[in-house]
């Protein structure tokens, strides 16, 4: 089902990787202002959802429709402009190693906007302050802690104030305590009515307080889709097995 309020429609996506099916006829929509959690075990196909939305490849069946237009129809320049509308927090953060924290955050602003240097400085300073990055603002990624890398990459992803934020396994392997600043900021950011977030994770329960919908993938297919209440009630064998990390259940443990 779709309506004009959807910011993103993922329609009948078929994606094969190395002669294996990664996504098999996966369909979902994301409303404006909605927060969606996509999870599933390794190789479930969840890891390819964000790259497909960002247009990393066009070798897939079905359509990814952003604001009513298929991303397959974007030309070279339109694709770059489309990516500007997305914030993408990668699994391995992808910070530029020869740039400081401040330079990393200001990079999309310098490249894409017509803001003056002073205005860019204001935006960056606000993000640095909100995310408690002041102590390392001039440090390069090699000298940063895991949490500081995460927060810098997150600040860079939201620097252009995107409509849609894609968060890909960003919290895995992070210190629970130090990542709280990031979690708090993400919660505030995601609660804005015009902002949408897709979070791909192995730990859906960590985002339960600000997520509207949950989708679980297994072997490239959706095996659970529901609201926060559905997720909490766990009336699904796949979901129960996943949350209990049990070897007993419909999913094969690799």
């Amino acid at each position: 089902m779709s309506d004009s309020n959807d910011i993103l429609r993922f329609e009948h996506i078929l994606y094969y990787r190395e002669e294996r099916t990664s996504l098999n006829d996966v369909t979902f929509t994301l409303g404006r202002g909605e927060n969606l959690i996509i999870f599933g075990p390794e190789d479930s196909g969840a890891e390819i959802v964000c790259p497909l939305i960002a247009g990393v490849t066009d070798q897939f069946g079905g359509e990814v429709i952003f604001n009513g237009r298929s991303i397959k129809t974007f030309n070279y320049v339109e694709m770059h402009n489309y990516r500007k509308e997305l914030g993408y927090l990668q699994r391995d953060y992808g910070l530029i190693n020869n740039m400081s924290v401040v330079e990393n955050i200001s990079l999309p602003l310098k490249y894409h906007t017509q803001l003056t240097t002073g205005q860019i400085g204001d935006v960056v300073n606000r993000l640095v302050e909100d995310l408690h990055l002041g102590y390392c603002r001039n440090m390069r990624p090699v000298s940063l802690s895991g949490a500081a890398i995460l927060k810098t990459a997150y600040a860079r992803a939201i620097a252009l104030d995107p409509e849609l934020l894609l968060v890909e396994h960003a919290l895995e392997g992070q210190c629970l305590l130090n990542s709280q600043t990031y979690m708090r900021h993400l919660r505030t950011w995601a609660s804005q009515p015009e902002k949408s977030v897709i979070i791909v994770t192995y730990e859906p329960e960590r985002f339960i307080d600000f997520s509207d919908r949950f989708i679980m993938l297994y072997e490239g297919e959706i095996v659970f889709a529901g609201s926060r209440e559905d997720f909490v009630s766990q009336n699904n064998d796949y979901l129960r097995q996943y949350c209990a990390s049990s070897v007993e259940g419909p999913m094969k443990v690799l």
Binding site: V77, L86, Q90, G94, I96, N97
Partner: protein
């Protein structure tokens, strides 16, 4: 599986043939024949892989040309620091080695010329020789070789590392046109740096070389400068500019191309070495081509 005896040497070619080593001329001939046949069998394969390389490189160049479509969305301030850093690394930081090599090369040429030209009665042509050897050929070529070995290898290694760290992917995902953002500023910086280095190389080679040569032979400074000025023509300057532009485009282009090639960390040194060696070969070919075109 049949075990080969200890003294058996295997000569492998396309058809997996084995020639056991026995004493006598026949076996040596057979071995040589096998090697030659193996090389010949591999030749078309090598030729085809070289052709594939040329096609891939053309596609890479085309993709950079195509990326100029998004240049109107580019804010040049985001490239400014890359151009400045690359110019500093390629140009300013290379000055000590450029100055040393220019001094030594200039001195060698001047000493050889002043010692040997009088034997042939052509001592009046020292200026011409310096212009021909240093300004036209050695200056640009030696500068380009230094730039390739210092900056070319650094460019290839930097891009390959960025690629493996998924920094380039993250730039793409930010909507940054990586071809334009990575290759274009390096080309601009290399042109500026190489042109400046060639001019500096020539000046140091002429005058520094002259000063060093004074320790062995005496040439009056006024006549030295005059012969140089007489020998210099506008076309020499034009060709120096042309060479610096061509080298400035080719060096970063080829090194960036090989920088984008590695698919794992293990391949980075392989492609960095390939970038340096192939850029050098291409520079020699281009240099010979330009000389043939303009001076033949």
């Amino acid at each position: 599986m049949q075990m080969l005896p200890y003294n058996v040497q295997c000569v492998r070619n396309g058809s997996e043939e084995y020639y056991p080593e026995t004493s006598g001329k026949k076996s040596i001939q057979k071995k040589r024949y096998g090697r030659i046949r193996g090389d010949m069998a591999r030749f078309p394969k090598k030729l085809s892989s070289a052709w594939d390389g040329v096609k891939n490189f053309s596609r890479f160049v085309l993709s950079i040309v195509r990326s100029f479509r998004s240049i109107k969305y580019l804010r040049f301030r985001s490239l400014y620091s890359i151009v400045v850093n690359q110019t500093r690394f390629t140009g300013v930081d290379a000055l000590p080695i450029i100055v040393s090599i220019a001094l030594l090369l200039g001195a060698t040429v001047i000493i050889q010329a002043t010692k040997n030209f009088p034997k042939f009665g052509i001592e009046g042509f020292i200026g011409n020789l310096l212009v021909i050897i240093i300004a036209r050929e050695l200056g640009p070529l030696a500068t380009a070789m230094i730039v390739v070995s210092r900056s070319g290898s650094a460019i290839a290694a930097e891009i390959a590392t960025q690629q493996q760290n998924r920094e380039i992917l993250s730039l793409e995902l930010m909507g940054v046109d990586t071809k334009l953002y990575i290759v274009f500023p390096r080309i601009i910086a290399s042109i500026i740096a190489i042109f400046s280095l060639i001019i500096i190389f020539d000046i140091i080679a002429f005058f520094g070389g002259y000063l060093i040569s004074l320790t062995t032979v005496f040439i009056p400074a006024k006549s030295f400068v005059q012969t140089l000025l007489d020998a210099f023509s506008f076309s020499d300057l034009a060709i120096t500019i042309l060479k610096s532009v061509i080298y400035g485009i080719l060096i970063p282009l080829i090194c960036c191309y090989y920088g984008f090639m590695p698919r794992s960390n293990f391949q980075i040194p392989i492609f960095v070495s390939r970038a340096v060696v192939r850029t050098l070969v291409i520079l020699f070919v281009i240099n010979a081509f330009i000389s043939a075109l303009f001076y033949f």
